[in-house]
Symmetry: C2
């Protein structure tokens, strides 16, 4: 790809004057790209030397690093709006989710994942970590290509133009000493060795990285957790796991192992700086200390955690101990990175009755650089020389953001923007969304068609 | 106004088959209007008799009763995005709010309220209760017209085309035995008698009703609360008060009176079926019982309560006792009735770890009929014969709602729509918003201009 230049009316760039974690808003920022990376950043350069850059793309509004959706189950999008009748909890919701999982095929999963990923890029996500556990045929038998479902996810992301980390999940049992439920048969490779054999047939590609996942300490026994963690380490993959989303999960693990899920993951060698605990809602103090000591991350999914009545996680204590937080839209009750970012702080305000635990800059880091790192893209999530040219632009002209001041632009966007304010999205230097529309897909039509195929 | 007909592709109408509180979605609903009321509702009539109605307005998508914003401080819109630097709580936020209040004039308040009300109608609110307490000049002296500020609010609503209840608030002191702070001087009429004399110069008008407010038990002494309540009863006005938003407020009232704010309001004769407690966050069991026994309502403001770190109110216990809940966008951190409606249930899920305490139908009632009643419009908030023709239509074609099924349309809209999905808004039979745009105002430009006037 040839060198390209992108001019941003306003851009959020690192503020090098402080401790290095701050950001600032600069006007008239010209980015020079070589392939998918930024190789030069000129701030107000046109004014300084009196000449005009030739630019290929003009971005009006405020351009930020693109957002990383560090935890997605693409097929859950089909459940949006359909699970709110009657009462219940996480476990009753899970029954409804399994009924959709049972209907997936490589073909309809390709369609549904493509539509869901397309909704994500429209919302400003430039990178997604798909936590992928529906691997096999409904009875558990492998497809002729045992990675047919994973390939559907990979194809979907490529056709949308979103960066993907396929977090292939090991899932072996229903719980302690419990065989798989019939609905769970298609999730399992039988053994951790079976999981290793299958995932090793997959390879990184352009805009694609592989990663590993332990579905949960409930669904994978201790020895197999160790095997998955070993394999992730050998391959240099990120490793994710659902951790302590539900109190019942903590209780079951304590009964089986006499420790917390986090402690078990630590014993089995899972906790490294490539590990991300997803949800991390019901943590003990020891868990927080382990994550801090092992330099792990935690992925919060506020719109899911509120929807599924999970509770409010200890974001304040994690952040205070230096554990990087990232965000995920998980079950896609909504797909909106702004809702996820501010959700971390809003939930904290509701429980602590204090404002300002998480600054707008730290929430933006959760939505961008921390998520990229969690997904194995350490060069993503910032607008800087050497970084991936993954960019999301919001208009400040809509009624929600009208009146935004330069001085408070980051705060305004983090606390008041929505996915609907996103106008332009660039992934690896390529324009994926312009003027609020996907370059090639009729996203709403694809959603309608693909959701109907698995629900009606 | 002549008879008009409106055809709705889909409409949310009362479901008369159950206990009368349910709603259903009907296709091809023709509403006949006389003036601002609905005088006939035909469901699928065209199909039944083979003839076509002549209609004046066609509404594609899902049409609901318009939403009532039962608690607004219009000028707080200028603070959006500007209060998130550093830490703090409700009280530190209040200092920033006072700095805007100090800069209001009848002219710039007209502009700011008009822009804010216009953002509301774009979001689907058809009726607003403006809790109005900035009455006088900054030093406390009345304007030549002592209701100049109230008239600005009235003019703003009329120019926007939104239905208004002006809840004129009595505000007399900073707290128990504490004189007003300098910043509060302009809120006060000196005495309750002064408040009565001033508000009695105001009169109802087309699309306008008057109401009373006790700012809070902190800001109005017991005797004056009684006088305001008496006047509201004589005039048949709704009466609102901020109640137990903050724990410190409860503590101060207990110290002064030895009871809860709600108990004091009860003693002073404020609690009738025209009373609405705003926030009602930190209630005792006796408070809930009083509201239920006196048939009061409670107005929750979830997007404000999370933003201001107020805490989570007892919506489950109030609803179980039959206390009608309504919604308000209050400080306008966001203006989105869907966020407020689902916020009641989402906050409850976070605290109770149960789903489904509030059904979509009951949340829709909070956003519509309960709010209309709270604001003194008992004929509003439903699509039925005899009701006000206040209607809000959302498109189901956007990516957020794509895939919505007829069977789950109410759930989908309540739990997944945003203000950005609203396409058409009709108030009293008049089209105010069409195709997502206000009929006469450039709302974003008005917001920019009016916010700059009070902040820069």
């Amino acid at each position: 790809m040839a060198v390209r230049r992108i001019r941003c009316e306003l851009a959020v760039i690192p503020d090098t004057s402080g401790d290095g974690t701050g950001v600032m808003v600069a006007a008239d920022v010209v980015l020079t790209l070589d392939g998918e990376h930024i190789v030069d950043v000129d701030v107000g350069a046109a004014q300084m030397d009196g000449t005009e850059f030739e630019v290929d793309v003009q971005l009006a509004g405020l351009t930020m690093p693109g957002f990383a959706n560090a935890h997605s189950h693409a097929f859950h999008r089909a459940l949006r709006g359909r699970t709110h009748r009657g009462a219940g909890d996480f476990w009753t919701w899970r029954e409804q989710m399994y009924s959709v999982a049972a209907r997936l095929t490589p073909d309809n999963y390709l369609d549904l994942a493509r539509a869901t990923f397309a909704e994500m890029v429209l919302a400003g996500y430039t990178c997604v970590g798909e936590f992928h556990y529906v691997h096999h045929q409904p009875d558990g038998a492998p497809y002729p290509d045992p990675n047919a479902m994973g390939q559907a996810v990979i194809t979907a992301a490529r056709e949308v133009g979103i960066r993907l980390t396929l977090l292939d999940a090991c899932y072996l049992r229903a719980g302690a000493r419990l065989p798989l439920l019939a609905e769970q048969a298609r999730f399992s490779d039988g053994t951790a060795a079976g999981w290793v054999e299958r995932v090793d047939r997959l390879a990184d590609g352009e805009g694609l990285r592989l990663g590993a996942a332990v579905h949960s300490v409930r669904a994978v026994d201790a020895e197999s957790i160790g095997a998955v963690a070993d394999h992730a380490r050998r391959r240099g993959w990120p490793l994710h796991a659902h951790v302590s989303e539900q109190i019942a999960e903590n209780e079951q693990v304590f009964e089986e192992y006499g420790c917390t899920p986090t402690e078990l993951l630590a014993r089995q060698g899972a906790l490294t700086d490539r590990f991300t605990a997803v949800h991390a809602t019901h943590l003990q103090q020891i868990d927080i200390e382990l994550y801090a000591a092992r330099r792990c991350g935690c992925c919060f999914c506020p719109t899911t955690e509120r929807d599924l009545a999970d509770g409010i996680g200890p974001s304040a204590r994690l952040a205070a101990d230096g554990v990087p937080l990232s965000i995920g839209s998980d079950q896609h009750a909504v797909i909106d990175p702004f809702e996820e970012m501010r959700g971390i702080e809003m939930d904290e305000r509701l429980t602590s009755m204090r404002r300002g635990t998480h600054s707008a800059a730290s929430l933006l880091a959760a939505g961008t650089i921390n998520g990229y790192r969690s997904l194995g893209w350490p060069d993503g999530g910032r607008i800087a020389i050497g970084a991936l040219a993954d960019l999301t632009t919001v208009s400040l002209d809509g009624v929600r953001l009208a009146g935004t001041s330069m001085a408070d632009a980051v705060e305004s966007v983090v606390f008041a923007a929505t996915a609907g304010d996103v106008t332009d999205v660039i992934v690896g230097g390529r324009t994926v969304v312009a003027g609020g529309s996907h370059r090639s897909l009729d996203v709403a039509a694809e959603l309608r068609r693909s959701i109907a195929a698995v629900t009606s």
